[in-house]
């Protein structure tokens, strides 16, 4: 967590572009949230595959060819979310060489207490030190 899912027309993003985008998303997410980069997941799917993703995917810009939906820990501020969205939107557009109007980005909140990663329950934003004490989360 976070999990960013990028959807694009089939074959429209070259492999190098996918790595660039994943690195940009990681950088922006970490700059905005101070989260460690090793937990930033970025997945790419063709538009025709989204129906297989169920609740992991939300159509964030109907008709928009390039879309990014990020499942992030709940508790981020509105300002942080706006910075994530604008930063990722601009970065993806730059990598792809398209206008920002062709890129739609949105985030959705996921409660930290619902997720386990790195072998432990993930902490609430700002409580990362609890990562070393999983018993703490069990009491929540």
């Amino acid at each position: 967590m976070p999990l960013y899912i990028c959807v694009a027309p089939c074959g429209s993003i070259p492999d190098t572009g996918k790595q660039q985008i994943s690195r940009s998303i990681t950088r922006i997410h970490c700059e905005v949230t101070n989260a460690p980069p090793t937990f930033v997941h970025t997945l790419f799917f063709d538009q025709g595959q989204v129906s297989s993703l169920g609740p992991l995917w939300k159509d964030v810009g109907p008709g928009c060819p390039y879309q990014v939906f990020g499942s992030i820990r709940s508790g981020r501020t509105d300002d942080q979310k706006e910075r994530l969205i604008s930063g990722i939107r601009g970065s993806v557009a730059e990598v792809l060489g398209v206008g920002v109007e062709q890129v739609a980005v949105a985030t959705g909140d996921t409660e930290a207490k619902w997720t386990m990663e790195g072998g432990h329950m993930i902490p609430e934003p700002g409580e990362e030190e609890a990562w070393t004490n999983p018993d703490w989360m069990r009491k929540k």
């Binding site: 994943s22 690195r23 980069p37 930033v40 997941h41 970025t42 790419f44 169920g54 386990m116 072998g119």
Partner: protein
């Protein structure tokens, strides 16, 4: 009936391991939630899964639950973590599991 989405990286798991995980998840859900779960498996093609800007070897599991106590949710997540690492030989850093209440996904 709960729903379970398992996203795995192409070429990382054998069909034998996938079949074993499917059956074991079914058992875990039955034991922990007294329910069944409709499973959907999605293979992420090579070059399409990244973590920290580098190629990912992580699997991701989303399993919905009824409204349950947090301790029960932790036990459920831990059971799937232990299953995944035992069957696949992956590390705990290569499995992310989310178990939201089904009610939270209903618009």
């Amino acid at each position: 009936m709960m729903i379970c989405y398992c996203l795995i990286q192409e070429g990382q798991l054998s069909q034998e391991n996938v079949s074993l995980l499917e059956k074991s998840i079914e058992n875990i859900v039955e034991e922990n939630l007294a329910s069944g779960a409709k499973q959907s498996w999605v293979v992420i093609p090579k070059g399409n899964g990244w973590i920290g800007g580098e190629p990912s070897t992580s699997s991701l599991v989303l399993l919905t639950t009824p409204d349950i106590e947090q301790a029960a949710r932790v036990d459920l997540l831990g059971a799937i973590r232990d299953l995944w690492t035992e069957v696949t030989g992956c590390t705990v850093d290569e499995i992310m599991i989310t178990a939201p209440p089904l009610s939270s996904l209903v618009a």
